[in-house]
């Protein structure tokens, strides 16, 4: 079997959430030949994730997210965008060749421009018991419920911070599950402070109020300014203990409360999935408020590497609507830079989009503030708590590597294997960098893990396909 042909396009968009979807649509409307690639079977990303084939929502169960997702899928189907679902991007080389692998085989695409819209991943600051079965991420829980119509457990404790807390709790209740409690890092005052920002998008505020009403109706205890101090259980989580904290996430010494549960959904905010800019050595900057290391870019998402654009939560945590807008801006910019849009048309189109963007800032600022990382949580991780769950590395081992001279995260990886496992450092990266920063002085000094292919682990069988020995282009022998 020969290697696949490289299919030429004007623009490759990786990630088909609101950002990537909007980028692909805007660029194709302007006349670019666009290919949109995602590892999911259908467009939608995490927020608008489609149900798998064979599952459907019961009548009338379509919420605003489901409707937005359907609209996005229909728009992409009706457009000239080439859709490649179920395809994992494993390699990006040149300017730009994108190699994908899927159960159907390998494909390669080439385009002078690339939009990276790969969304976010979840931050979970480790606590004892966080690796027990039955503990899942807050965002993970929403995906479970959205795409599979499944609640995480019979009795779930929902913990962490941000609007997702209310969303997950309300969805569990609606799905017939029980919520044992909500354990929120934020205080009532934090929510009040966020209210004006949240109110800037009345539809979302209304949705939020409905969630809180559902939570109130179900008489779910809400523990403000609390955090999880441990999850315990023999083979799976059986109980979760919470304790009061201050605004930085430091335990304030108040009374503990323990809840019997069979599941814990916990999340401490989101981290931009900037793997592609990282891989391509694009310039990054650290911004705690934006979720971590983000690609440096102009208003339209142009990165420091020519032809690369970043949009959505993969560029900066902001939420679904801003993601769609920054995606559209990146798509327009790619069309403009290819010469498909003249400057006048670009001005008009982008001006409207930018105006829409400005209207989202108050809301996403408020949500981001609720989700902000609490530094003391990282400082206070116990020595024997596992931080890198793939490689089973505890905080004490990380500290030992730092004491042995690891001055930034890549050296720490060498010294400890931390981050070398199958999640490629996505789960622990933010925490580990936080721990190194305590010694290195700043997150900038602690650095970030060098981007490496593949973007996601891929089965060798999928990558290699069927081949004969004669198909392998073995280079000439090394000198004797």
């Amino acid at each position: 079997m020969a290697l696949p042909l490289v299919l030429p396009f004007d623009l490759v968009v990786i990630g088909a959430g609101p950002a990537g979807g909007a980028a692909a649509l805007a660029a194709s409307e302007a006349g670019l030949r666009v290919v949109l690639i995602d590892e999911s079977a259908a467009p939608g990303g995490q927020v608008y994730r489609a149900m798998p084939a064979g599952l459907s929502h019961s009548d009338g169960a379509l919420g605003p997210d489901e409707r937005a997702g359907q609209a996005l899928r229909e728009a992409i189907a009706a457009s000239s965008v080439t859709w490649k679902g179920g395809a994992r991007v494993w390699s990006i080389s040149g300017r730009y060749r994108i190699d994908t692998a899927s159960t159907a085989g390998c494909e390669s695409f080439e385009a002078p421009r690339l939009v990276a819209a790969t969304g976010a991943h979840e931050r979970i600051v480790p606590f004892p018991g966080w690796t027990l079965p039955g503990v899942i991420g807050l965002a993970g829980a929403t995906i479970l419920m959205k795409s599979q119509g499944m609640v995480p457990g019979r009795r779930t404790l929902v913990a962490g911070c941000g609007p997702l807390l209310a969303a997950v709790a309300a969805k569990i209740i609606a799905g017939g599950g029980e919520v044992a409690a909500i354990v929120d890092l934020s205080s009532r005052a934090d929510w009040l402070k966020a209210l004006p920002g949240l109110a800037s998008r009345p539809a979302l505020l209304k949705q939020g109020i409905n969630w809180f009403l559902a939570i109130g109706m179900a008489r779910v205890p809400v523990l403000f300014r609390h955090t999880i101090v441990r999850a315990e259980g023999e083979n799976a989580v059986a109980s979760v203990t919470a304790s009061p904290v201050d605004g930085n996430g430091r335990l304030s010494g108040g009374p503990e409360r323990t809840f019997e549960v069979d599941s814990l959904a916990v999340g401490h905010g989101l981290v931009p999935g900037a793997e592609i800019p990282r891989l391509l050595r694009s310039k990054l900057a650290f911004s705690a408020a934006s979720g971590g290391w983000i690609p440096v870019r102009d208003t339209f998402g142009r990165c420091s590497v020519e032809g690369l654009y970043a949009a959505g939560d993969g560029a900066e945590i902001a939420g679904a609507l801003p993601a769609a807008i920054t995606g559209r801006l990146a798509g327009l910019a790619a069309a403009r830079d290819s010469g498909a849009l003249d400057s006048a048309r670009f001005e008009i189109l982008s001006e409207v989009t930018l105006a829409a963007f400005r209207k989202t800032l108050a809301f996403s600022g408020a949500a981001r503030d609720l989700m902000r990382p609490r530094p003391a949580m990282i400082e206070d991780i116990a020595p024997d708590t596992v931080v890198c769950r793939c490689e089973d590395i505890r905080r004490s081992e990380i500290e030992a590597a730092i004491a042995a001279g690891a001055s930034e995260v890549n050296q720490l990886k060498h010294f400890s294997r931390c981050g070398m496992g199958p999640c490629q450092g996505r789960m622990c990266g933010d925490t580990v960098a936080g721990l190194v920063a305590l010694h290195a002085g700043s997150r900038e000094a602690a650095g970030y893990w060098t981007g490496r292919p593949p973007l996601r682990p891929v089965p060798l069988s999928m990558l290699l396909g069927e081949f004969d020995y004669s198909d392998i282009p073995v280079p000439e022998p090394a000198p004797l």
């Binding site: 290697l3 494993w90 390699s91 080389s93 040149g94 060749r97 190699d99 390669s108 050595r281 590597a401 042995a404 001279g405 001055s407 930034e408 890549n410 050296q411 990886k413 060498h414 010294f415 294997r417 070398m420 496992g421 199958p422 490629q424 060098t450 490496r452 292919p453 593949p454 682990p457 891929v458 089965p459 060798l460 069988s461 990558l463 290699l464 081949f467 020995y469 198909d471 392998i472 282009p473 073995v474 280079p475 000439e476 022998p477 090394a478 000198p479 004797l480």
Partner: protein, 393 residues
């Protein structure tokens, strides 16, 4: 100004770090300058294979000594780099490869490597995970691997214990010649040293330019891949006749796939990009050799820079015309042989007679032919009986 140090070393890879270690232990006041962190370039990102079957014939005697050093690293280095000593197999899948293998194994055997050619069934007994398509194999009991990413940690501890003034994150920008030695220029200060070793890997060319000398160093961009942890699928180091495969499974279950397939990069930017065709080719070769590897998932791939002189033999010895200055590097399969060659250079600096000859660089400095440094890739001179190494020690 009287030099504050007896010895200054520029470059903290396996070569520079080993010279520093032995010289400091022998009592020289030693300072080591490393641009980044210790052993994070070639010496930390390499495949860690400690094999005779990929080593150049002229280096076999050195590699054998070096293998013994790695195997006893806990004794002389004092710290663990995860060395596993095991059997090694070099495979032939075609008649042509069988011929190449037999020829090369013979040459290496003459040089002292205990390699024998074995049948497929014998090879299968050594490595049950092997493909049935093997025609014959070179078998060597002196083989194995280290965990290259632990090299920096191990040397860091050893150097500090030996009292080396270790200056990491300290790029050297130039060297001045002083009355009693050299001035090593860093952003902070110029450090006076009595003797100097340049051990800058692929950056040796830049370093030699500090003395106005042109030593062409070719930069190889070697790609490597590692799988997720999988069940034990192999227990030896596996290569192929041409030398373009190196494969082994670490005790923790990951499999490292290498062999010198090339990626994109240069000495300015490092190994910036991996070529998907070359990754796929390399991984196909690996799965062809050990079929069960197909079960694995590719977790990560990277590229590192390896230095090569015009004749692909080391640059290790005094720098001509500059008393008290030495060079050490550009050793083929240099992770394997590096510690021994660096130890020989340390002996030389310490005015002990080295047991084996060094590799002086006079041969590489001729200005005209230095301009077109290439390595013969398209022919197999050894099959035609030609000697491709003009150099004699």
């Amino acid at each position: 100004m009287k030099p504050a140090y007896d010895l200054g070393i520029v470059g903290g890879g396996v070569h520079g770090a080993t010279v520093a270690l032995f010289c400091a232990r022998a009592g020289l006041k030693t300072v080591l300058f490393e641009r980044g962190s210790l052993c994070r370039e070639a010496s930390g990102v390499n495949a860690g294979t400690l094999t005779m079957q990929m080593t150049r014939v002229a280096l076999i005697p050195y590699a054998l000594q070096a293998h013994a050093m790695w195997a006893s690293a806990r004794e002389w280095l004092g710290h663990d780099v995860g060395v596993v000593v095991c059997d090694g197999l070099s495979l032939a899948f075609t008649e042509r490869e069988a011929e190449l293998l037999t020829f090369r194994a013979g040459k290496r055997r003459e040089a002292g490597a205990p390699i024998s050619i074995i049948s497929p069934s014998e090879a299968m007994a050594v490595e049950p995970g092997l493909s049935e398509k093997v025609l014959c194999a070179g078998h060597c009991k002196v083989d194995g691997y280290a965990n290259a990413y632990l090299t920096g940690l191990a040397f860091r501890r050893a150097l500090l214990e030996a009292g080396v003034d270790l200056r990491e994150q300290t790029p050297v920008s130039g060297i001045s010649r002083e009355e009693q030695g050299f001035g090593v220029a860093t952003a902070q200060e110029t450090v006076p040293v009595k003797r100097l070793v340049l051990a800058g890997g692929v950056w040796l060319e830049d370093m030699m330019a500090w003395f106005g000398l042109h030593l062409p160093i070719k930069v190889l961009i070697n790609q490597l891949a590692v799988t997720e942890r999988i069940r034990p699928v192999m227990r030896t180091v596996v290569g192929i006749a041409s030398g373009l495969l190196s494969l082994k499974q670490y005790p923790h279950g990951t499999v490292v796939i290498g062999g010198g397939w090339q990626g994109v990069g240069d000495r300015k930017r490092g190994g910036v990009e991996l070529l998907p065709e070359n990754l796929v080719g390399n991984m196909r070769l690996a799965c062809h050799a050990i079929p069960a590897l197909k079960e694995a998932r590719l977790a990560r791939a990277w590229a590192g820079l390896e230095a090569e002189t015009r004749d692909a033999l080391p640059a290790a010895g005094p720098i001509p015309g500059i008393p008290d200055a030495y060079i050490c590097g550009s050793v083929h399969s240099g992770y394997t042989s590096g510690p021994y060659i660096a130890k020989l250079l340390a002996d030389r600096i310490l005015e002990r007679e080295p047991i084996d000859p060094l590799f002086p660089i006079d041969r590489l400095l001729a200005p005209q032919d230095a301009a077109q440094a290439t390595r013969p890739l398209s022919t197999h001179p050894e099959l035609a009986g030609a000697d491709e190494t003009p150099h004699s020690l």
